[in-house]
Point group: C2
Chain length 122, copies 2
């Protein structure tokens, strides 16, 4: 029997790529995802949903058009729906994301960094 | 100007009571809450929603009618909607909760342990 308990640290240890969120679990129609981040993403917007970032390790900058939001470990920030943003990290960051199922990582921007949501392989 | 970045560790440091969830932030119509837990709660069910627990510190047992789910730091467990459960912790636990807005902590059980959702005062 597989366990229905997931461990965030174990999940992160299984990830070696960047900008490829994995689904840890779901609550109703929302996914809790883990992701490793390094470098700069693309500017994009989620027109229909807020997006929650919680940094577990490292320093993540979420660039907004009018300011930078700098997040360290245990910091939580919600990008409101419709707000253009571009995450970047000079060194590797581990983070949790909460989003409705079906939210695409690049939002309305598309392009090469668009990732299919992957399941964890533990 | 107040910051729209919340820190989970700082939020937990501001809490000295048990079974009184505080809203850290919201994503759409969901709340991310922090809570400290000690002792035994009441058996209850949320008929209309799943409930996510993520343990940050300590060991939390979520009693189900057919088994106990034991969670340590970084463990995540989702109690499916309609599943009767009763959390307990011998020593103090710090945890994150994710639930739809308006979810009552005691679900269908009511009683003395029912808590109004509180805002953080930092």
């Amino acid at each position: 029997m597989t366990s229905d308990v997931q461990n965030v640290a174990k999940a992160l240890a299984s990830i070696s790529d960047h900008w490829q969120p994995r689904r840890l679990t779901s609550i109703n129609n929302y996914d809790l995802k883990v992701v490793k981040i390094k470098g700069e993403f693309v500017w994009h917007t989620h027109p229909d949903t807020d997006e929650l970032f919680m940094v577990l390790d490292g320093e993540l900058t979420i660039q907004l058009r009018d300011r930078d939001v700098v997040l360290g470990p245990n910091d939580v920030f919600v990008v409101p729906r419709g707000v253009e943003h571009c995450p970047k990290a000079a060194a590797e960051v581990s983070a949790l994301l909460i989003e409705p199922k079906g939210t695409v990582n690049t939002g309305d921007a598309g392009g090469d960094m668009t990732a299919e949501l992957q399941e964890l392989i533990l």
